[in-house]
Every structure is written in C-alpha cells, then in structure tokens.
C-alpha cells in the first residue's frame, strides 16, 4: 500500500465531492426558492382581504364586484393555482400591481435600485467604520476605547430604528436644515436628470452633474448614515469578537516570535483570518439593511422597495407585497450564496483545489 495511492484516492474523492456539493448547492437554492414561493402563496391565500376589493376599491357597486370576482378566476383548485403561481414567478411575472397598474416586476425594477443604493451606502459606512472600530476594541480590550465601541454597538443594537430616524429627521432636517428630505432628489432635478442605472449617486457622477450629485447626496446621507450606524453596531461587535478569537490563536504567538510588528500582526494576520467569517457578517448585515429598509424608507419617504411593500400592504395589493417579498427573499438567497462563495475563496481550507 503506497502513500500516493491513498493520497490520489483522497483527491479523487475530493473532486467528486466538489461536484456533488455544487449539485447539492443547486438543490438547496432551488428548494429554498420553492419554499419561499410556497409560503408567500400560502400567505396570499390565507389573507382575509377580498382581492376584488383591492382591485375595485370600496365604492364599487355590487354587480361590478360580482363580475370582477368571477373574472379573476379564483375558482381553480389550489394546487393548480400554486403551479401557475410558481411558473409565473419563475419567469419573473408576479402579476400586476393593483396600486400602480404596472406589472409588479416593472415596479420593482424601478424602486429596487433606490433601496440597493441606500443599503449599499449604509453597508459601506458600516463596514468602513465598523471593522476598524471592532479591531481597535479587540486590540485594546478592556480599555476606554473598547468600552466606547461596545456602548456604541449596544445602543445601535437596542434603539428602534424608526424612532432614531424620526429624531434624526427632527434634528438634522427640521432644526438644522443640514440635509434634504424627502425622497431621493429634489423636484427641481426630477425632470432635468435622467438616471441610467437607477443609482442616482453613480448616475450623477457618471454624467458629471455635480449639483445633482450634491443634491442626491444631501438626500441619501441621513438615511444611509442611520442604516450605516446599525450596520456599524453589528459589524464592529462581530469584528471585535472574531478578532479576540483570532488574537488568542497560537499562530499569533508564532507571528510575534518572528518579530513582526503589532500592526502587521493585527491587520495582516489576525484580521485576514477574521475576514473569513466577517464576510458573512457583512453580507448578512447588507441583507438585513435591504430588509430593514421597510422601516427606514417609511420614515424617510424613500421611494424604494421597502416603502413599496408597506404601501402595497396597506392597500392590500398582495401581488406587489408577495412579489416584493419574493424579490427580497431571492436577494437574501443570492447574498447568502455570494457570501458562501466569498467565504470559500477567502478561506483556503474550504477552497476546492
């Protein structure tokens, strides 16, 4: 029995495993998505709202209501309805929004960039401030700096976002007039500025419209900072805990024994290792912000997906609500997938060779 033979066997097994795990991964994504559809479908059926009412409004006379009810064909067997539902959802067809009369997908395509832009900026703020803060707290464990970072994080964890948003609005908009509100852009620019990507900051930069950029920035900065704060609270806390863990490892001692500087040990070795789980944390926090937009967007009248969903909910526009839920859910799945992949590339131990 030679060692190489065993080794080869293992390698073969590993590559077979890689294929199998890729397949498994697909199955996982598919079933998750199907489950998402099943639950949204279920919610859509169970909801005690007359769908006809949603289409017609309250003041429609009875015969119109009756006629529409029949026309909407709510009489097929459930499984058949579900089948149709799945097929449509897979082709990106979530029906027509009652509220806007547009296909839900068209609406989402219009509002989602607003949410993504907000959440992305929030996450960037959160990560670029949160990670260094977390590292600082871990390195200076027990110091005043650590305590301050912890308190910042704890408060961020404990404060109702919509409440803080209200207060922030009161202070920075109503009293100080530092920022703009509401929406993404001033009315003035509404008809002189034609976005391409839907991400206004990017578009304004792209087209070199500095005044527009300034205006868009003034609109986005407050909600993005708030979201950034929440993201920061989470990220700094997790960074701290990961860093503490890494700093205790033997390889840190080994690195010190090599004579490396503290900075190199912290940023090059410990953080590089902490980065592996951190990627997941940041991705999760990003997903959380996308979802958390439901509350923030309401307060800031931010025309994004969150506001779209709440509005639709309040108007019993279930197609839109479920479509939005599915899109956010899909993005969640996608982000999880992405963070998984990132995890794999960052961590050589899980990297398939």
């Amino acid at each position: 029995m030679s060692g190489t033979e065993r080794l080869n066997g293992r390698r073969r097994a590993r590559s077979r495993k890689a294929v199998a795990s890729a397949l498994q991964f697909l199955v996982v994504v598919a079933t998750t998505y199907l489950g998402l559809l099943a639950v949204t479908f279920f919610i859509g059926r169970v909801i005690p709202i007359d769908p006809v009412l949603a289409v017609l409004g309250d003041r429609a006379p009875s015969h119109v209501v009756e006629r529409t009810r029949e026309a909407m064909g709510l009489n097929l067997p459930l499984y058949q309805q579900f089948f149709i539902y799945v097929r449509q959802a897979l082709s990106g067809d979530f029906g027509v929004s009652v509220l806007t009369t547009n296909p839900v997908m068209t609406d989402i395509r219009r509002v989602f960039p607003a949410t993504i832009e907000l959440a992305t900026l929030g996450t960037l703020i959160g990560a670029f401030i949160g990670v260094p803060l977390g590292v600082l707290a871990a390195v200076k464990r027990g110091s005043i700096a650590d305590q301050i970072v912890r308190v910042i994080g704890l408060v961020g964890y404990s404060v109702p976002i919509f409440w803080l948003a209200l207060l922030a609005l009161l202070v920075f908009y109503a009293r100080l007039q530092w920022v703009a509100y509401p929406g993404r852009i001033d009315i003035v620019y509404e008809y002189t500025f034609s976005p391409i990507t839907g991400f206004y900051l990017v578009d304004a930069l792209w087209q070199a419209q500095w005044d527009v950029f300034r205006d868009v920035f003034r609109h986005i900065i407050l909600p993005a900072s708030l979201l950034g704060y929440f993201s920061l609270a989470y990220i700094s806390r997790m960074t701290r805990s990961f860093m503490l863990n890494e700093l205790q490892q033997e390889y840190i001692v080994a690195a010190r024994a090599k004579g490396l500087s503290e900075a190199r040990i912290i940023w090059g070795h410990a953080l590089r290792n902490a980065a592996v789980p951190l990627v997941t944390v940041i991705a999760l926090s990003y997903a959380g912000l996308l979802e958390g937009s439901v509350l923030t967007e309401t307060v800031f009248a931010w025309p994004g997906l969150g506001l779209y969903i709440t509005n639709s909910l309040q108007n019993a526009d279930m197609n839109a609500v479920l479509g939005g839920t599915i899109v956010i859910g899909s993005v969640f799945i996608g982000i999880n997938l992405l963070s998984d992949l990132l995890y794999r590339t960052l961590d050589p131990r899980t990297r398939a060779r």
């Binding site: 490892q249 033997e250 390889y251 001692v253 080994a254 690195a255 010190r256 024994a257 090599k258 004579g259 490396l260 500087s261 190199r264 070795h269 590089r272 290792n273 592996v276 960052l346 961590d347 050589p348 131990r349 060779r353």
Partner: protein
C-alpha cells in the same frame, strides 16, 4: 564559555480573579552555544519560561527578573522595538503544534518569506530563493510545491518542518523549541529532531529544548533543567541523569514503561509538598 543568554530570578505572575498565579518563580540559568533541555510535568512553568525570554508573555501577566540578557542586551528593559527586531532575527521559537501555529490562510512560502523580509531588505525573488533553500534544508522533498501549499494541506510532520524553516530562515543565534515534536508521531518525531539537531549543530546556535519527556531530553540535550511548580529543582548534565539527586527527577525517570523492563506495578511519584517550596 561566553553566555548567550543569562537568566537570573525570572518570575512570571498571572493576576486572576481568584488570586495571583505564580507560573514561574525565580528561574535562573545561563546558556551558551549548547543544547539545554527543560523538563517537568504539565503546568510546571516550562513554556512560560521560554515565552518570557521571547517576550511573548500575555500582556496582562507580570514578568520580573534580576536579569534576562541576551548577549549585551537587557531584554526586559529593552524597548519593544528592539525586542521585536531581536525576535526572529536573533532569538527564535518553535511552538508545539504546527496545526495551530501556522497561519491557516497564508501559504507556507509566504509565511517563511515574511520572516525574511521583516528582518532583511531583500527582493521578493531572493527571499523566495532563500525560503526554498530553507525548505530543502529541513528535508522537504519538493520545496517548490510545498511553498504554495496552505497549512491544512500538509501533514503534521511537514508542518513542523515548515515551522522550523520559518523560524530559522533569518539565522537566529538562539532557538527556543517548546515541545516541538509532541504533536507528532514517534517515527516522525525522530526525523524532525534530527533535522533540528543538525541545524543547531551546523549553525552553532544555542538551543533551549522544552519537553515533558525526560528520556527524550536527556538523549537530545547536553544539559537538563528539571522544573517543578515554577522552580528549577535540579540542573544536571544529560550524561549524569542516572545519578540524579532529586527524588522528583528520579521519579520522572522511573515511572515510564520501558520495552523489556518488566516492572509491575510501575513505580509512581510520591509528591512531597516541600518540593514546591
């Protein structure tokens, strides 16, 4: 004999919630370019002694000594920068378990190169060459391949060799090896030890070899320090071990089952409280 390292009354204390733990309680010795073994049972303070010399004691611990000098440098009063420059370049340390002591997300080669480039301003390619040479020196058969591997992709024995390569690549004068082979298989253990032995001999380094295996230490080192409860209870030349005076040392020697020696039951240590005083 010109002393490479002088340690006088070294003490390491850990303040904890339940009181102060004295891990090392007044250890003194001098070391030339020789192989010095430190043995003792678990918790006797062997590692903390080694780490205190390296300056790797956890920050909340308290390290005091009359002197800890490396050549002409007083280590304890030296500024951190000076100590850092010494570490890796002049004093190096090998840790027990390669599985945990190598950075898991950095390739073996980069970790070796990192030591070199920290202490010598040389080009990337030159550093790579030196690292490959070093890998070859620790008897790794295919250095170029191993260079790019990650710690989890190599075996324990290979990891320990890489660790040795990483620590010795900058050519230190003093090496502290803290149980460098106890995580390895017996057969591999010997290979690694012989590599270590050869490198130390070739380069004329001083070596502090920490182990709990008295027999191994005595066969590997010139001189042995026996530690018990943070103190050195006996210092003895390896060749004189059979005539050790301290009952602890004798107990340690005797309690190991030996092939061919038919002792049932095995003699056991009868610890006396006064040993710890």
């Amino acid at each position: 004999m010109s002393a490479l390292l002088t340690v006088n009354d070294l003490r390491v204390r850990f303040p904890t919630r339940t009181g102060v733990i004295e891990a090392v309680r007044g250890v003194s010795f001098t070391l030339g370019r020789e192989r010095l073994g430190i043995v003792g049972e678990s918790g006797s303070g062997k590692s903390q002694t080694g780490r205190a010399i390296m300056g790797l004691t956890p920050s909340h611990a308290e390290v005091t000594a009359k002197t800890v000098s490396f050549g002409s440098v007083d280590l304890l009063s030296a500024p951190p920068k000076v100590r850092r420059d010494l570490r890796g370049k002049h004093i190096a340390m090998i840790l027990q378990d390669p599985k945990y002591s190598l950075n898991p997300v950095m390739s073996i080669g980069r970790q070796i190169v990192e030591t070199l480039r920290r202490h010598e301003s040389i080009s990337r390619s030159e550093a790579r060459e030196r690292a490959l040479d070093m890998l070859a020196a620790v008897q790794i058969r295919d250095p170029a391949r191993v260079f790019d591997l990650y710690p989890h992709e190599i075996s324990g024995g290979m990891g320990q060799r890489a660790m040795i390569a990483m620590m010795l690549v900058a050519g230190p004068e003093l090496l502290i090896a803290d149980e460098p082979t106890s995580a390895l298989d017996v057969t591999v253990q010997l290979e690694v030890l012989s590599i270590l032995d050869k490198l130390v001999a070739d380069r004329g380094m001083g070596l502090i070899f920490i182990s709990h295996d008295l027999r191994l230490v005595s066969s590997f080192c010139d001189r042995v320090l026996v530690m018990y409860a943070g103190k050195i209870v006996e210092e003895i030349a390896a060749s004189d071990l059979a005539s050790a005076k301290h009952p602890y040392t004798q107990g340690l020697l005797n309690c190991m089952p030996v092939i061919g020696a038919d002792r049932h039951p095995l003699p056991v240590l009868d610890r006396k409280p006064e040993w710890a005083l």
